[in-house]
């Protein structure tokens, strides 16, 4: 694979990742969120595959398969099942801040991401390193989604977005972390999502819907 | 060794003669004041010797004691009169020679005075009646307010001398007559005089001749005492008046006080003391005629005034010493 192709593919997948992230902030439909998340998962897998091909690392290719399965298929499926039983509230109706404000926040957070990535960018001028701010920005967007969306599943989506961001940074800066850690991390994420999924359905039984605003019984 | 024996002998002589002179004089002093007052008010009065006659009568009467009173009814009067006698012995009214082991320290004098006050106040409380408690309460309030003035004026007098021993102060005044008329001294003595008037229950703080219970202070405390108990209480109070008047007048006019023991000196001292006391008593009685008793709750104002005088005296003494 030539250097140019590599750079272009890398930039393409990075761009796709960021686009999906912005769209997640923009859109309100849970279904769309899940689909965007799946796309993002595939983009991430693609990014890893590109890196693997470029560095001729079989390990990274295996990881790419793992990522594709987990983030592109399994997790979106889990989320889709979580929303499937709840046709009445498949939309995030009133986020805590309106879409315009959220998008303004997105631009601010992107700037912040570039600002804080300076030390990483100083590591070298490779294409991979240059894309690191995208990962940072995704993580920050994930946080934004987490703290402004009312629906339980939205929080899951925010969490996964955050996780994707971190994974992106990990792959771009270091070609991932040691495999044992990578496996542990993936397992952890999967388990967390499963736990939250179980809790979501319990919340729905207890509260009638999955609106987190009702959950303020524990307070001082 | 001889010297110290000599000092002790002359101190004992002075102390004994002070006690004797004051025991004799104090009732006469009261008689004199009553007579002066009576004359000024256009009455004849009972005569100078009347207090002595009253005393004899009381001592021979049967003391009555209500059920439920404690032994304090008996002990309190004895303590009061003893403390007054101790005051007579301590204060340098005739001579400035004192026991080496018992200087006439002003704080000791004041504390013995207070011991008497406490004895009297407890006698009043022990009566177990409304009036006894009332008198006691008022008496102690006045004492409490008088004490700052007394101590502060004492302080003012001691600073120039550098000692709180009365005989040193008197000697210093004899040596340097000009210091008697210094502002420090005058202010302090004025304050002390007011304090003495208040402490001994004279007008305008208390009316010794009142028969209206609600205005009584001293009389309310002794209402329940009779016979020799009452006699002791009266003698004790008279002695206090005598000693304190004597002290103020000695501080104001130190001349006549003997600095060592001679027969002539003693005679002069006794005569001078009699004269000073007579003048002081007459003056006090004359002023009292013109005064009315103030309300009890105006007394603090009077005390505050005297306190300020004493405080000014202290401040002045610092300025003088500094300058």
């Amino acid at each position: 694979m030539s250097e140019t192709t590599y750079t272009q593919l890398l930039q393409l997948s990075a761009g796709l990742l960021l686009l999906c992230a912005v769209l997640i902030v923009w859109r309100r439909s849970l279904g769309a969120h899940i689909r965007l998340l799946a796309v993002q998962g595939w983009a991430l897998a693609g990014l890893v595959a590109v890196l693997g091909l470029h560095e001729h690392s079989a390990e990274l290719l295996w990881v790419s398969v793992l990522v594709a399965t987990l983030k592109g298929v399994v997790l979106p499926a889990v989320l889709a099942r979580a929303t499937a039983s709840d046709r009445t509230r498949a939309r995030e109706e009133t986020p805590l801040i309106n879409t315009t404000a959220a998008l303004l926040a997105v631009s601010f957070l992107t700037m912040l991401a570039y600002l804080v990535s300076r030390p990483v960018l100083a590591l070298g001028s490779t294409a991979a390193v240059a894309a690191v701010p995208v990962g940072m920005a995704m993580a920050l967007f994930g946080f934004l989604v987490l703290s402004t969306r009312r629906h339980a599943v939205s929080q899951l989506i925010g969490f996964l977005l955050l996780d994707n961001g971190i994974a992106t940074v990990a792959f771009l800066t270091a070609g991932g972390v040691p495999l044992v850690v990578e496996l542990g991390v993936s397992l952890d994420v999967l388990l967390v999502v499963l736990i939250l999924r179980v809790l979501t359905s319990r919340i729905r039984t207890e509260y009638g819907d999955a609106d987190l605003d009702d959950m303020t019984e524990l307070r001082d | 060794m001889n010297g110290s024996v000599g000092v002790n002998v002359s101190a004992a002589t002075f102390a004994t003669s002070q006690v004797l002179v004051l025991v004799v004089l104090s009732p006469l002093l009261i008689g004199l004041m009553r007579t002066v007052r009576a004359r000024l008010e256009g009455r004849v009065g009972g005569g100078v010797l009347q207090p002595w006659r009253d005393l004899r009568k009381l001592l021979l009467k049967e003391p009555l004691q209500a059920q439920g009173r404690s032994w304090w009814a008996m002990a309190g009067p004895v303590l009061l009169v003893s403390s007054s006698l101790a005051l007579c012995a301590l204060t340098p009214l005739l001579g400035t020679v004192t026991f080496p082991s018992l200087p006439d320290d002003l704080f000791v004098v004041v504390s013995i005075l207070l011991l008497g006050s406490v004895a009297l106040a407890l006698v009043g409380l022990d009566a177990g009646t409304a009036f006894g408690g009332m008198g006691s309460s008022r008496h102690m309030m006045i004492s409490a307010l008088v004490e700052p003035t007394v101590l502060l004026s004492v302080y003012a007098l001691s600073i120039p001398v550098g000692s709180s021993v009365l005989s040193r102060i008197v000697e210093a005044r004899l040596d340097d007559p000009a210091s008697v008329l210094s502002p420090v001294s005058l202010l302090a003595l004025l304050a002390l005089t007011i304090a003495v008037v208040a402490e001994t229950g004279r007008l305008p703080v208390d009316n010794p001749a009142t028969h209206l219970e609600l205005t009584m202070v001293h009389e309310a405390m002794v209402l329940e005492s009779s016979g020799r108990d009452l006699a002791w209480l009266e003698v004790g109070s008279w002695l206090r008046l005598g000693v304190l008047l004597g002290l103020v007048s000695t501080l104001l006019v130190p001349w006549g006080v003997a600095t060592d023991l001679t027969a002539a000196g003693m005679l002069v001292a006794v005569l001078a003391l009699v004269a000073k006391l007579a003048v002081a008593a007459t003056a006090l009685a004359t002023v009292e005629v013109a005064l009315a008793k103030v309300r009890l709750f105006r007394v603090p104002e009077l005390m505050a005034g005297s306190f300020v005088l004493a405080f000014l005296a202290v401040t002045a003494s610092y300025l003088v010493v500094q300058g």
Partner: protein, 465 residues
């Protein structure tokens, strides 16, 4: 899958006892022959790890043993037994890992293990607590992961990709300071979430108040400390590269903020278990300040504090569980005159709180004094002044609320309650609480090997000064 009753009942106790024995054994071995490694270097026990393992074991034993419910109460469910053991295992893994990544996995695993323990009661409140706990905890720890990734990137660009502190400590690769700054800041921030430091502490009172008492005791007693241990490790790794300024600032800020938040919310606290939870926030604040101070004295004091706080807090939580069981509520307003009515549960609770208040002879007194002394010696006089004033506030607030529980308020007529005889019974074994609180009371006075273990453990982080 049915686990025999006896196994279910005693699984946690046995596991904790095993950890305690292993910890003590490691203490001895490490002290004699230096760090021990296993599993191809993935696990490594130095003095600090061994000490932390001992603490995990000791606190675990206290919580699980005294949390045993006397018959005829039903034995815990399968899930409960398994999860408690997993929880203990994850914490042990965390302190024994020689790898920041594995440590991270272990810390995240504790979240997973405890999620259902927090929600164990199955009520709406328990559910809410579990949700908040998982979301806030995972998100926080995710930030730590970002930091770890960046640290890894730094080591990679320095030519020796590793996350093992043994390696880092031995080789001192020339890491890029500005990248390590970012990495350390993010890692500490992330682990601070699990350590319950303000402003990331919000999950803590909810989770602690809803979990079964022994689990609350474990979480408060050791889970927080394990996260704190992670912070210490990160600090030790980063300090040689970037100095202590940034981390000291962060930790001191977080410490003071934790103290302030804890004090504020203790003042008018209405729930007994939340009261204890905020007390944990307070103590974690103190620990954060100790870490900010650094140096042998502060760090060994912090480790002593970890031990004392762990034992005392788990005892207090277990006692609060007994109170809940006998009184049916943890609302402070409804729990009055407890010392008069139920001294059996009130006395261990009060002794535990006394220890937590930092009064002698309990070891928390020594550790707090030492931390303040060390702080002033290191030129953090104003910070220490603020610290002790906030600790004073927390003391007064906690004492005031506990007084209501134990002695009632002035509105209570004591005579009303005096007709019934005091009840000395307890719903669980008293012995382990006695041992735990006794240990806390004498720990401060024990020199010899124990003091040496503390010193060695602090020396492991020597670079953090």
């Amino acid at each position: 899958m049915a686990i025999p009753v006896t196994v279910r009942r005693y699984a946690g106790v046995v596991a904790a006892a095993a950890i305690l024995c292993a910890g003590v054994a490691l203490d001895v071995v490490v002290r004699q022959s230096g760090p021990v490694t296993a599993l191809g270097g993935q696990l490594r026990a130095d003095a600090l790890s061994a000490f932390m393992l001992t603490v995990v074991g000791a606190v675990g034993l206290t919580a699980t043993w005294s949390g045993l419910r006397v018959r005829p109460n039903p034995a815990p469910t399968n899930a409960y037994a398994v999860l408690v053991v997993l929880f203990l295992g994850a914490m042990s893994l965390g302190v024994l890992a020689d790898n920041l990544g594995v440590l991270w996995v272990a810390v995240e695993a504790t979240t997973i293990a405890t999620a259902f323990l927090v929600g164990h009661h199955g009520t709406r409140r328990a559910l809410e607590a579990a949700w908040k706990y998982v979301v806030l905890g995972s998100v926080g720890v995710a930030i730590a992961f970002l930091g770890i990734v960046l640290l890894y990137a730094a080591t990679r660009s320095a030519g020796s990709p590793t996350l093992s502190w043994a390696t880092l400590d031995a080789t001192h690769p020339a890491l890029d300071p500005s990248l390590v700054r970012l990495a350390a800041a993010l890692t500490i921030l992330g682990f601070a979430t699990k350590a319950g430091l303000a402003p990331m502490h919000s999950w803590l009172p909810d989770a602690h108040s809803q979990a079964p008492a022994p689990v609350s005791g474990l979480m408060s007693g050791v889970l927080l400390s394990v996260a704190f241990y992670a912070i210490l490790r990160v600090q030790a790794v980063a300090a040689p590269v970037i100095g202590t300024g940034l981390m000291r600032g962060m930790l001191a800020t977080a410490g003071l903020l934790s103290l302030a938040v804890a004090t504020l919310l203790l003042i008018a606290q209405r729930d007994l278990k939340r009261l204890l939870a905020y007390s944990s926030v307070e103590h974690m604040g103190v620990l954060a300040l100790a870490a900010a101070i650094g140096g042998p004295l502060a760090i060994s004091a912090a480790l002593l504090h970890v031990l004392g706080h762990g034992l005392a807090k788990s005892s207090a939580f277990v006692a609060s569980g007994w109170i809940l069981e006998t009184e049916g509520t943890t609302r402070i307003e409804d729990l009055r005159l407890l010392l008069r009515r139920r001294p059996g549960v009130a006395v261990p609770f009060l002794v535990g709180v006394t220890a937590l208040l930092g009064l002698p002879p309990f070891s928390l007194f020594f550790s707090e004094v030492a931390i303040v002394v060390a702080g002033v010696q290191r030129g953090m006089g104003w910070v220490m002044a603020a610290t002790v004033l906030l600790v004073l506030g927390a003391f007064a607030a906690l004492a005031r609320r506990v007084a209501v529980i134990a002695f009632g308020s002035s509105a209570d007529e004591p005579e009303q309650m005096s007709d019934s005889a005091p009840d000395w019974s307890t719903p669980g074994p008293r012995f382990p609480l006695g041992v735990a609180l006794g240990t806390t009371a004498v720990a401060g006075f024990v020199a010899g090997p124990f003091a040496a273990v503390l010193t060695d453990a602090a020396r492991v982080l020597g670079g953090a000064g």
